[in-house]
């Protein structure tokens, strides 16, 4: 187990280094002189030279990277040029909002995706199976920004049930907070539910044809017990680990969803920084996202081995 963990960790490290190089390298794609962009209206060569010196733009790219990396490793992700806050502060402020949204979306996805997957596997090739598959196709093919706008039209404009935009902190007023996040959470969860349904369906189909399910049936257990206790429990293992891979899709979705519902979260921070040419924030945020993704996948791998005794070497 320890050997497996060390091996995976050693595999992850070069990936992390490459991610950081990639993100740092993006800066080189910027057209024009970054010092000119930072200086804004200022065109005084002395000021420009100072900016170049301050941000080490006068040094070779690899040297710049080493300085940047040194900062990152000591927790300094740089500073927002627009908001004058440190990137770490900004992330700490925005992350809880997105985590709440993502948590609620996950709940929506689990509540829809797993039952739908189980039903379509148990009632294979019946109306229910086709309906569930149709739902999954719809979920995968619907652009979430369209779904969001349509929900706003229905629930905010026409029915006047939910606010169209804005966000209230959970700690401030939980009712208002849930009202502002209900639609975005559904929009985000809908796509994930579709993916979850497909995974659950195939895992359940596999589990239902396993020997232990036949044994459970032969023992005279009720079908509900066979499905829920014997098959589902075993089928959930790969599904839960696959969920870790969907973290990226959830964050991608949050970018658009937060934009539509004007929720001041992680995704909106990325878009706002992109439009304000606040590249330090973009780099910092993308680096944190990628590192979290890598860490989650590592955890999922470890969890998979932990719950699956046959994989322990």
């Amino acid at each position: 187990m320890l050997g497996f963990f060390t091996r995976r960790l050693l595999q992850v490290l070069p990936t992390l280094v490459l991610v950081s190089m990639l993100i740092f390298g993006l800066q080189q794609l910027l057209p024009g002189d970054p010092a000119l962009i930072m200086a804004g209206e200022e065109r005084d060569p002395k000021v420009l030279a100072e900016i170049r010196h301050q941000y080490r733009l006068d040094q070779p790219v690899p040297v710049q990277y080493v300085y940047w990396m040194k900062g990152v490793l000591s927790g300094n992700l740089g500073e927002s040029m627009r908001l004058k806050n440190s990137v770490a502060e900004l992330v700490a402020e925005k992350l809880p909002v997105t985590l709440q949204l993502a948590g609620m979306a996950l709940l929506v996805a689990l509540c829809i995706g797993i039952p739908a997957g189980v039903i379509s596997a148990v009632k294979k090739e019946t109306f229910w199976d086709y309906a569930a598959n149709l739902f999954a196709l719809w979920g995968i093919s619907t652009p979430n920004f369209w779904l969001g706008i349509m929900l706003i039209f229905l629930f905010s404009v026409t029915l006047n049930w939910l606010p169209a935009s804005g966000y209230v902190l959970l700690s401030e007023n939980w009712k208002a907070s849930l009202a502002t996040t209900a639609m975005p959470a559904f929009v985000l969860g809908n796509a994930l539910a579709a993916v979850l349904m497909r995974h659950t369906r195939s895992a359940m189909l596999q589990a239902m044809s396993a020997d232990y399910v036949r044994t459970a049936r032969a023992k005279g257990l009720t079908e509900a017990r066979v499905v829920l206790k014997h098959a589902l429990r075993n089928a959930m293992t790969p599904v839960i680990t696959l969920l870790a891979l969907e973290f990226g899709a959830l964050l991608s979705g949050a970018v658009l969803t937060e934009q539509i519902f004007t929720i001041p979260g992680f995704g909106k921070l990325i878009v706002d920084s992109v439009f304000n040419r606040d590249y330090a924030v973009v780099q910092g945020v993308v680096l944190i996202t990628a590192s979290t993704y890598i860490a989650l996948n590592l955890l999922a791998d470890v969890a998979y081995v932990l719950v699956n005794p046959r994989l322990r070497g």
């Binding site: 979705g253 439009f275 993308v286 993704y293």
Partner: protein, 296 residues
Amino acid sequence: MTAVSTFPLGGNPGSIREENPWARAWRRLRRRKGAMVALAVVVAMVVFALLAPWVAPYEPTATSWSLVRKPPSWLHWFGTDEVGRDVLSRIIFGTRASLGAGLVSVGIAVSAGVPLGLLAGYAGGWVDTVLSRVVDAMLAIPFLILAITLSAFLGPSLSNAMIAIGVTTTPVFVRLTRGQTLGAKVEDYVEAARAVGNPHWRIALRHVLPNIVPPLLVQASLAIAGAIIAEAALSFLGLGQQPPAPSWGSMLNTAQRFIAQAPWMAVWPGFAIFAAVLSFNLLGDGLRDALDPRHK
């Protein structure tokens, strides 16, 4: 040769010949209603994109102050937008941006990803290690976030959005091709090709590549669906097609501001994206079943 002569009377010796695998796949695909409807939609969209100036009832950028935000009517089937442009015409012209982005960016991803994947899978060793780690690194950044970041750093335009989406899609093709190549490399026919003394490049291109085309084709269809959504998302954010040129994503962006007064402005572009993405997804699913040799 004696086998043919002992064939029962009336039996056609030609019929025992192996059916061409592509003909078989097409025959199987034709049986799948969903995939055929999807194919019809895709063909229709290609036709609309190519013939847009002749099919569209109006100029997509022609404004009219007397026609601001008019609901759907006989003259304007999908209504008009905030400056009096015909929504239907803009959707028809928008097919160009969406389909174009889907095809060009997946084209970029395939032409970069497949050779790299072949190289990694076939050569192995440190080449494989380096390429695989780079792929891991790129896949660690969520798809849309990488696409947004790339197109932001490149500057907002439709062609930069295509490049950004193409680059972001490339690692998927590298990984898939590599995996398939590793599987094909140990097959007997590759062994045979090597035994006859074929050079490596010839084995990779003539013996491995043709045998891994089916899964690549399936992935390409699904990737086009993903690229169409991504282009719409980038245009929605203002990073893709620049106004006044029509694109489904940017139409939705404007529509959101007028959702209370002119909901039709949001319904149709969104539905167009949905139909396009659904079609490529269905086509990909259908191709997967039709090309899978284990299926009957």
